[in-house]
Amino acid sequence: MKNQLLTTFLILFSLQLSSQDLLDVLDAETPETSNVVTATFKGTRIVNGHSIENRKKKELEFIISHRFGRINTGFEELFGLDQSNIRFSFEYGLTDNLTAGLGRSSFEKTYDGFLKYSLIKQKTGANSFPFAVSLFGSIAAKSQKAIPGNERTFAESLFYTAQVLFAKKINSTLSFQVTPTYVHRNLTAINEDPHDIFALGFGTRIKLSKRVSLNAEYYPQFQKLKSIDAKNSLAFGVDIETGGHVFQIILSNAITMIEKGFITESTGSFFGGDIHLGFNLSRTF
């Protein structure tokens, strides 16, 4: 009896060792790598605001964005389609981590330039880090002619935005971003308007399929412009990706597509029906 047990034991032991799977050896030999988490968001915008995504070095992205008028203007205005605001921009990867962009919006004939820098990346494996941090800065210059008697200098036409973007890709379906934002305007319409506005942006992406995702974005402000009865920006978008294109369909209470505009100058009440249909079309070269 004792001998039989010992025999069985020896058989099992030697069989186990000799049939050791070669793939297991490879698994053991695989060096632990540090993986940078990619594609936290599909595009460089969540909806209106920037995501942590950058263009890679020497990649040029051309973006055309549209926002139509308010849907609740009714049939006569074809639900806002008669009115259209456009921004087009060229955005270029100076390095893998630094993107520069130049854009022009039809709203108040505004030119804007920005820099976005990826400071820390979310990583798994060796040297893992739980979230990503990017820095964003932009200057916008209004070039629309002032009403006679209300002339302003070039300096008085300038707006500045600074953002810190914290983003986390929870899994391949779900990503979040929190975006503390500071907007400064050199000239205000009335004395009661604040020159400095702080806002805290929240953004998310939910992937519906491999190439389609649902995005949402909300930017509550801590100070508001009194002269225009400003509202907080709320926007929803659907991203559709096809090869080198990303196509975004947007519903937003903002008519502008740059930070100083949609964060601090939105006047629409989203749930009151002041919704603008819009598109972002991007092509990467």
């Binding site: 001998n3 020896l10 060792l17 695989t30 993986n35 893998d96 491999k210 190439r211 090869g243 080198g244």
Partner: protein, 181 residues
């Protein structure tokens, strides 16, 4: 009874010495090439792990999908996100046997490798033609073959069907060295 014990003890010891009968590389190269009317797509991975057991001619390969490097960063992102889904299926593997392994000499000659290739969670039996040579301190294997993306459940959306070939040419080059544990 005593003889049986001796046999098992021999087997037991033999299983330890197996370790010296393996040849391994950690920086094997696999490239793939997609030729289509619109564009050619090429990617290279030079961190492929491959192992050969000289006693049996068995071979195993482990490929980390995220280590494929593309010319364009966006292609690489789409490859990982939309096609091979690297977060869900981080590795491609091959498990099989080099046929007529004993006939491989220091002079390069043609041989065949038969086994199971797993990509994107789908497994397919394949036979690959390869060039092989073997010396005391190296086993070198190289070759190329075509894989059909549909066999591995990798879908090509209709908008990019002219940009990506249905059959992808895969080339490999492994320079195995003696593996000492």
């Amino acid at each position: 009874m005593k003889n049986i014990y001796t046999l098992f003890i021999c087997l037991f010891l033999a299983s330890f010495t197996n370790a010296q009968d393996k040849f391994l590389t950690k920086n094997g190269t696999i490239t793939f090439f997609s030729k289509s009317p619109m564009e050619n797509i090429e990617a290279e991975n030079n961190q492929v792990l491959s192992i050969v057991a000289t006693k049996t001619g068995q071979m195993a390969i482990s490929i980390l999908m995220k280590s494929f490097m593309f010319e364009k960063a966006l292609m690489q992102e789409h490859f990982n996100e939309n096609y091979v889904e690297s977060d869900t299926y981080p590795k491609a593997t091959f498990k099989g046997r080099i046929l007529s392994f004993d006939k491989i000499t220091a002079t390069e000659s043609a041989t065949k490798v038969k086994g199971e290739l797993t990509i994107h969670g789908k497994t397919k039996e394949i036979v690959i033609e390869a060039q092989a040579k073997r010396t005391d301190d190296a086993i070198v294997m190289s070759g190329s073959f075509f894989i059909d993306l549909a066999d591995f459940g990798i879908e090509i959306p209709s908008v990019v069907k002219n940009n990506i070939a249905k059959k992808i040419e895969v080339s490999f080059n492994f320079d195995h060295k003696p593996y000492k544990k």
